[in-house]
Structure formats: structure tokens, C-alpha cells
């Protein structure tokens, strides 16, 4: 098998999210100047949120990028664009490698299924065959230690047990490129240690990782690069420590003046 080069590249990425059903509502000048969220722009009587504006990133094997920014700065939108969920309006995204996306956990969870059925369904969705499914299910069940509850309906689980199941399922599927919103976490102190260990292996196995988070500790722990975003633009791209420092330096004037001053 030939080893493929893994990379993720965005050049001139723009994304305008149409807002439907608000045509008749007026946006006051004040609301347009709000600190959070993307810019709201009008075109041909239609309103759009400018989620991404001229984004240029190239990530290669070994890159772990942390996305930093206030709510609505465009972090999740960028993750969605990278994963192919949002079609970007202009610009180009080039991907080589298998992408896994964790924007929220537990989609497809039906309260009346049990853990085993849930795992089997995830495997079918991933295109696993019978043997791979059996191996995967056994491995995850062993890891999450649900005991007899593995055969009980999920509605009987505590929220911690649900988190164990969903987060653990996610980190047992191998991938080249990992896109994560707000980190992955699960369970009580005891399990958390075991989970962190597995998470480390999982992250190490992924060649490229992009993580959006508000926690500087989490970003410092897992990332080596950082991108500071505001209103859909990347203001700073560099080493993670520098990026966090840059973001902190922005914060004070940002909220006072309601506008961003970028260096110059």
C-alpha cells in the first residue's frame, strides 16, 4: 500500500450563510455592530451572515491547529467547511486523507436502543464488515465498562454513561484528519484518566488535527499551532502560545470599542 500524503488546504475560502425567513425583519444599525457573530450583509434583498472571509490555511502531517475566537467568530463554520458539511461560496478546499468530524456527540442515538446496537449501527455507517464490527464492538464495550447496561436501553443510562459510550465510540474509529469542536470528554475521575490515555493515542494517530475551543489549557495541551478568528477572518496564524497571547491582547479593546484593531 502506498502511503498517501495527508494535507488539508483552504485558499481564499469565503462562506456566506443565507438567512431565510427574515426578509421582512429590519436589522437596525446597532445590531449590525454587535461584537459577537459574523457580519450580516445584504445582497439583492437577501440577508447573509458572512461566516468565513478569505481564509487561507495549509496544514500538513503533524500539524495540530487550535482555533481561537469569541462566539460566532467562525470556528465551527470553518470546521464545517473543512469537513465538507458547508459548501464554500468561493475559494478552494483541497483534502487528502480520511476526515473524522466531531462537532457534536451522539447524533443518531435513539433512547430505546442499547449500547451494542448503537455500536453496530455506527460500524455499518462506517462501512465495516461483520468481523470488523464484532471486533470494534468488543473493543469499545471492554473499554467503557458498562457491564450489564450494555444490553439495556440507552434511556436507562445516566448522562455520564451516555457520554462514555458516545465519546468512546468516536475515539476508536481511526482517521487521518480530525476536526473537533470543543474537545471530547467523558465520565468520572476514574474513567477520565483511562479516557485521556486513549485520547492521547487517538490524537497521536491522526496526522492532522483542528480543534476549536474556548479553553486555553486544552488548546495548549493538544495543539502546536493556533489561529485567532474574528468575524470569519483569520487574524493571526502561528505558534499556539503566541496565538493565545495575541488573542488575549485583542480581548480588552475588542469588547470596549466593539471593533477589532489588527496590529497596524
Amino acid at each position: 500500500m502506498t502511503v498517501r500524503e495527508v494535507y488539508l488546504e483552504v485558499s481564499g475560502g469565503n462562506l456566506m450563510l443565507p438567512i431565510n425567513g427574515t426578509e421582512k425583519r429590519l436589522f437596525s444599525r446597532e445590531s449590525l455592530k454587535k461584537a459577537v457573530g459574523g457580519r450580516i450583509v445584504s445582497e439583492n434583498n437577501k440577508k447573509y451572515v458572512q461566516c468565513l472571509k478569505d481564509v487561507n490555511i495549509r496544514l500538513e502531517s503533524g500539524d495540530r491547529l487550535g482555533l481561537i475566537g469569541h462566539n460566532g467568530a467562525g470556528k465551527t463554520s470553518l470546521l464545517r467547511a473543512l469537513s465538507g458539511i458547508y459548501p464554500i461560496g468561493s475559494g478552494e478546499i483541497k483534502v487528502s486523507g480520511k476526515i473524522s468530524t466531531f462537532i457534536s456527540q451522539g447524533v443518531g442515538l435513539s433512547p430505546d436502543m442499547n449500547a451494542v446496537e448503537y455500536l453496530e449501527m455506527q460500524c455499518v455507517v462506517q462501512g465495516y464488515n461483520k468481523k470488523e464490527t464484532a471486533d470494534f464492538t468488543a473493543k469499545v464495550l471492554d473499554f467503557i465498562e458498562l457491564g450489564e447496561f450494555a444490553y439495556m436501553p440507552i434511556r436507562t443510562y445516566s448522562s455520564g454513561m451516555k457520554a462514555r459510550l458516545m465519546a468512546s465510540t468516536a475515539i476508536f474509529f481511526p482517521c487521518d484528519i480530525l476536526l473537533i469542536d470543543e474537545g471530547i470528554g467523558a465520565g468520572d475521575a476514574n474513567f477520565s484518566e483511562k479516557f485521556d490515555k486513549r485520547l492521547k493515542e487517538f490524537f497521536a494517530a491522526a496526522k492532522i488535527m483542528v480543534m476549536a475551543s474556548h479553553s486555553n489549557d486544552l488548546l495548549k495541551k493538544w495543539c502546536n499551532k493556533g489561529a485567532v478568528m474574528a468575524k470569519g477572518e483569520i487574524l493571526f496564524l502561528g505558534e499556539i502560545g503566541e496565538a493565545i497571547a495575541y488573542y488575549k491582547s485583542l480581548q480588552a479593546p475588542f469588547f470596549k470599542k466593539n471593533k477589532i484593531s489588527v496590529g497596524n
Binding site: 431565510n20 458539511i85 468530524t101 435513539s110 430505546d112 436502543m113 462506517q126
Partner: protein, 265 residues
């Protein structure tokens, strides 16, 4: 695969045919989930059909002064066909809105959702067939070779469902009024489609009511084999044309608009 970024072209809609395991499984899980914690489970669909046919049949057989058993078997076959054909119009709209979470969080290969939905409709259809097995066992209808025509009929309706669902699921998610319109329209279509009445009861220009009605052909290709009647080539030709046309429209709609669905759900 269900979770996979894919370039959409005209054939995207048909590609899941190569991996039936995934959509068949998803449809099966969906169906099983619907019946969890119910005592009778899948029997409910059959039971409600039987109750409907027995009750409504006794009124209408009186109104039309026709033989009761003949009439209720005719109506039962028509209802089974109608239940699937009406679901094509009503159910398709919710495919994307009911999977909004999945669509917003994963690069979903959307044709799989359409195929699994269609498969689900087919499973519901198959649920109702035991009624006819009972009728055959009771000797109400002689079992004959014509009944095998149900197989091509199911394939044709499956294709229609895929095409219509691909187009309607996008339209409804963009224009939310559409589902309301369809819901009110479906009752009218049901009345003008020969389900409660036999086509030969309506003559002259009035016959256009069913000749111009695509549902007539869909109902006929299911009803005739169930009743063991000889198939009519004309019905199969028209319904195959409907299938091709809807697949074409669905494939175009999917190619052109499916990437915007994520903005509309």
C-alpha cells in the same frame, strides 16, 4: 458510505444501489425503533388496515350495491397500494428535516438517507401483504401466476419513490409551506383515484379523472397482481415512464441543490 464527502453528479442519487447493506440496515433500525415498547408492533399497520377496510367497505358496498367480499378485497388491495403512493408525496418532505442533526454535524452522503427512507416505505408496504395471504388461504381469490407481477411493480414504485423523494425532500426543506399544501392535496387525490370506486364505474370524459392521474397507474400495478388479475401492459408502460421521469428530475435536483440543504434544515 453514509458519512463521506462526495462530489455530486447526475449519478450520485443512484450510487447507493451498490451498497444496499447500509440503507437497508438503516431502514430496518428505523422500523424496529418505531415498534419498540409496543405490544403488537408491526401488526398495528395490518390491524388498522383491516379495521378500515371492513368498516368503510360495509358502507360503500351498500352505496354502490355491490357484493361485500368482492368489494372489500378490491378496496384492501387499493388501500395497500395507496398507502405507499401517498407516502411518496407526504413522507418524502421530512427526510432532511428529521435528519437535521446528522446533516449539520457530518458530511452526510445524502442519497443514502433517501434510499433508507424509501426502503422504510417498502417495509411498511410489505407489512400489509399478510392480509392478502389470509384472503388467499381463505380461498377468496385463486392463487395464480399473475400475482408474480407484484415484483416488477414493487421495483417501479421503489424507483418512483427514490426520484420523487430526492426532489421533494429538497423543495420541502426550502419551502416549508409545500408540505402543508401536499397534506391538504392528498385527500383530494385519494378521492379522485380509483380506490373506493372501480375505474369502469366512471365513463366518458369523466374517465380523464383517472387517466390523467399518475396515481391511478401506480395503484393499478399493485392492485391487479394482488387480486390475481391479468396485468395490463399500458399500466406498466405509463408507470415506468413516471419512474424514469421522476428519477431524472430527482437526479437533477440532487445534483444542483443538495449541497445547499445544510443551509435550509
Amino acid at each position: 458510505m453514509l458519512i463521506q464527502q462526495e462530489k455530486t453528479d447526475l449519478f450520485s442519487l443512484l450510487r447507493p444501489i451498490k451498497q444496499p447493506k447500509i440503507w437497508a440496515y438503516l431502514a430496518w433500525v428505523d422500523t424496529v425503533n418505531q415498534y419498540r415498547r409496543t405490544l403488537l408492533g408491526p401488526l398495528w399497520i395490518l390491524l388498522s388496515l383491516i379495521i378500515f377496510v371492513l368498516a368503510v367497505g360495509s358502507v360503500y358496498s351498500g352505496l354502490f350495491s355491490v357484493e361485500y367480499f368482492d368489494y372489500i378485497t378490491f378496496m384492501a388491495a387499493g388501500m395497500i397500494a395507496w398507502n405507499w403512493s401517498s407516502a411518496i408525496l407526504i413522507g418524502s418532505g421530512t427526510i432532511y428535516s428529521s435528519n437535521a442533526g446528522l446533516i449539520l454535524d457530518y458530511p452526510v452522503n445524502k442519497p443514502y438517507l433517501i434510499w433508507s427512507h424509501t426502503m422504510g416505505q417498502m417495509i411498511i408496504f410489505l407489512h400489509q401483504l399478510p392480509l392478502f395471504i389470509i384472503i388467499y388461504l381463505l380461498g377468496g381469490i385463486q392463487v395464480n401466476i399473475n400475482m408474480l407481477y407484484i415484483i416488477p411493480s414493487i421495483c417501479i414504485i421503489f424507483a418512483i419513490n427514490i426520484g420523487v423523494a430526492a426532489a421533494l425532500s429538497i423543495l420541502v426543506v426550502r419551502y416549508r409551506d409545500l408540505n402543508k399544501i401536499l397534506t391538504s392535496l392528498i385527500v383530494v387525490i385519494m378521492i379522485v383515484t380509483p380506490i373506493f370506486w372501480k375505474p369502469e364505474m366512471v365513463t366518458g370524459m369523466r374517465a380523464l379523472v383517472y387517466y390523467l392521474n399518475p396515481f391511478y397507474y401506480i395503484v393499478e400495478i399493485i392492485r391487479n397482481p394482488l387480486l390475481g388479475l391479468e396485468p395490463k401492459l399500458f399500466h406498466y408502460v405509463v408507470s415506468s415512464i413516471i419512474a424514469l421521469a421522476s428519477l431524472l428530475v430527482g437526479a437533477f435536483a440532487h445534483k444542483r441543490y443538495s449541497k445547499y440543504v445544510v443551509f435550509w434544515v
